[in-house]
């Protein structure tokens, strides 16, 4: 079978500049979508090689010769049949394009395909501007399309017209194939093993895919509700408990003691969530972990679910609070109430789960009075035991309702094209998270600098409240330790201090 090379690109290709760029450090990890894609290809008999370019820079030094024929060849020095470049985050846009250009120079005969969320959102734009180095973009879930694509490339005579979701060019014309193939039974996609895929563990976040498909919320700034239209999957489907346990067991066997559940599975309904939590409990997953994080919107996990996820091992949870103003939450169609926010935090603490809180400013319709409400809710959540983890200006994500209808929501877009979003790749790191050039919009009430100042004000509130946050965490540490013996007082302190220390630089 032929070789396929799947690549995690840097934010910017120039190795000497890469070190200094915005958010380059956290983006050294593979997205798990590519890991599942790789596992699926291996299952189907392909030789898959993974290359993490930031990792190459780290081990081999920051030299330009890193991107060479030698590094990017397949097994036994063979020319691969396909390069798959991950473009999940907007921060990777410039690096992904520069990498494709360089690879096209070295391997003009190899098909280069992009995949991932950001690539899917801008598939047509990427092909219209960069068809000299990008041969195609697969929109949405890539497992079945890439298999078809590989078969066609191997037979070399077949047309690409029926490769599901592929955007490509034919005689200079961009062709957008409809999305026709989506795995019905997602358990057929094998769990990933870093050992089998030949990955360096340091560059893999042990995250588990639980669900695929749309989130059940309607937030106008998020891609989640638009998955059916953009990525083709109409309904959320979840992996079976057995599959989830198998994936977790592989990760634990490979030495991971940390675990992350970060997709929209929390909106899959109580029955399903309870089944997952009970399944994890049965396997005593909690005894094998030092850290287990999951995410949710407030109001989705009631007391019984939180109790069961805590018993299953979840020791901290990311609550997307976003705003303290009910009026603003209503404008952005985030179906969450202020009392649900407070209840979720209080219940998490009671059930032994450290509640991390995430905040957003620069939302449509937000006034100074709304900011005041967010400021006071932030204070109140700290009193309740909430640990602020992230404060960011809203970044308008392409193709969301907010992006498609800015006038309706009273905002003016400053970022519109794929090229505009490349600013996320090559902006210099700023320790104060002060990025005026990365603010994607202005609202009726707030300009770029107002949005930055509001974010600054919330971050400063957190900084000033450091002692109180720590004190509350210490107060609650007995409850945490009852559920999770590894959550000693010093462990809780370390985690909280670490959260506070990154707040000043938090952005998007």
């Amino acid at each position: 079978m032929s070789d396929v090379i799947l690549i995690h690109p840097p934010t910017i290709l120039d190795p000497s500049l890469f070190k200094r760029k915005f958010l380059s450090a956290p983006l050294v990890h593979y997205g798990y979508g590519m890991l599942y894609l790789g596992s699926f290809l291996v299952k189907n008999g392909y030789k898959v090689k993974f290359i993490n370019v930031p990792e190459l820079y780290q081990w081999w030094g920051y030299g330009k010769e890193v991107i060479s024929r030698f590094t990017f060849s397949g097994s036994h020095g063979r020319t691969p049949i396909l390069f798959g470049i991950e473009l999940n985050w907007m921060h990777q846009s410039l690096g992904a394009i520069e990498l494709a250009k360089r690879l096209k120079e070295i391997f003009p005969e190899v098909f280069i395909v992009f995949g991932g969320v950001h690539a899917s959102l801008f598939a047509k734009e990427i092909l219209s501007e960069y068809s000299d180095c990008v041969d195609g973009v697969i929109r949405g879930e890539a497992e079945l399309p890439i298999l078809d694509l590989l078969k066609k490339l191997e037979s070399s005579k077949s047309s690409l017209e029926d490769v599901s979701g592929l955007v490509w060019t034919k005689n200079g014309k961009i062709i957008e194939n409809p999305i026709t193939k989506i795995p019905e039974n997602i358990d057929e996609i094998p769990p990933y093993s870093t050992k089998e895929l030949g990955l360096n563990k340091l560059f893999v976040i042990p995250a588990v895919n639980i669900a695929r498909g749309p989130c059940s919320m309607r937030c106008i700034y998020c891609i989640g509700p638009l998955i059916p239209r953009i990525f083709g999957r109409q309904k959320m489907v979840c992996h079976s408990v057995d599959w989830i346990i198998e994936q977790i067991s592989i990760l634990i066997e490979e030495g991971y003691r940390r675990l992350f559940f970060q997709d929209y599975f929390w909106s899959s309904g109580k029955r399903n969530l309870m089944e997952i939590a009970k399944g994890l409990q049965k396997e005593r997953i909690n005894e094998k972990l030092d850290y287990f994080n999951m995410t949710s919107a407030p109001g989705f996990l009631d007391e019984e679910l939180l109790e069961n996820f805590s018993r299953a091992g979840v020791d901290n949870i990311d609550w997307g609070v976003e705003s303290g103003s009910q009026r603003v939450l209503d404008i952005v169609k985030r179906d969450v109430t202020i009392s649900q926010i407070k209840d979720s935090i209080k219940t998490s603490v009671r059930k032994g789960i450290i509640p991390n809180t995430f905040w957003m400013v620069g939302l449509p319709g937000e006034t100074l009075e709304d900011v005041r409400k967010t400021f006071y809710l932030l204070k109140e959540t700290i009193e309740l035991g909430g640990v602020p983890r992230w404060v960011t200006p809203l970044i308008v994500v392409p193709k969301t309702r907010l992006y498609e209808e800015p006038e309706r929501y009273g905002i003016r877009l400053l970022f519109k094209s794929f090229r505009d979003y490349m600013a996320f790749s090559n902006t210099e790191h700023n320790p104060n998270a002060w990025y005026p050039n990365l603010i994607t919009h202005e609202t009726k009430n707030f300009g770029v600098y107002d949005i930055l100042k509001i974010a600054f004000m919330l971050r400063m509130l957190i900084k000033r409240s450091s002692n109180l946050i720590l004190e509350k965490a210490k107060e609650n540490s007995k409850i945490y330790a009852e559920y999770h013996p590894h959550l000693s007082l010093s462990e809780v302190e370390t985690r909280v201090k670490s959260s506070i220390s990154v707040i000043q630089g938090s952005f998007w």
Binding site: R372, F375, Y376, N430, N432, A433, W434, P436, Y449, L452, K453, F456, M457, M460, L461, R464
Partner: protein, 97 residues
């Protein structure tokens, strides 16, 4: 108010790269709009900076401040130090009218 290093007729303004900000708890900050670098400032300095309009003399501003804040040695020292630092670090500018 005793000004150690400055004439009372001097007119100052806040540099364009800097701004002041007060949160909902009454904490005040001096903020660099280019870098996000920030300093916490006292209420009296915040009030002082908010009165700088490039027209009022130092004497006029101090007279306004005196209506709200007690004049004492600590206050004098703190404002003198701030004025000196402000001109040195560039967040204050002298205006020539």
């Amino acid at each position: 108010m005793k000004l150690k290093f400055f004439r009372e007729s001097i007119v100052l303004k806040l540099s364009e790269d800097w701004d002041i900000l007060e949160d909902f708890n009454g904490n005040s900050y001096l903020l660099n709009l280019k870098s996000g670098e920030a300093y916490e400032i006292s209420p009296v300095i915040f009030r002082f900076l908010s009165l700088l309009d490039g027209k009022k003399t130092l004497k006029e501003i101090i007279d306004v401040l005196a209506q709200t804040f007690l004049n004492n040695e600590t206050f004098d020292k703190s404002l003198n130090f701030f004025l000196k630092e402000g001109l040195k670090k560039g967040f204050l500018k002298k205006c020539f009218i």
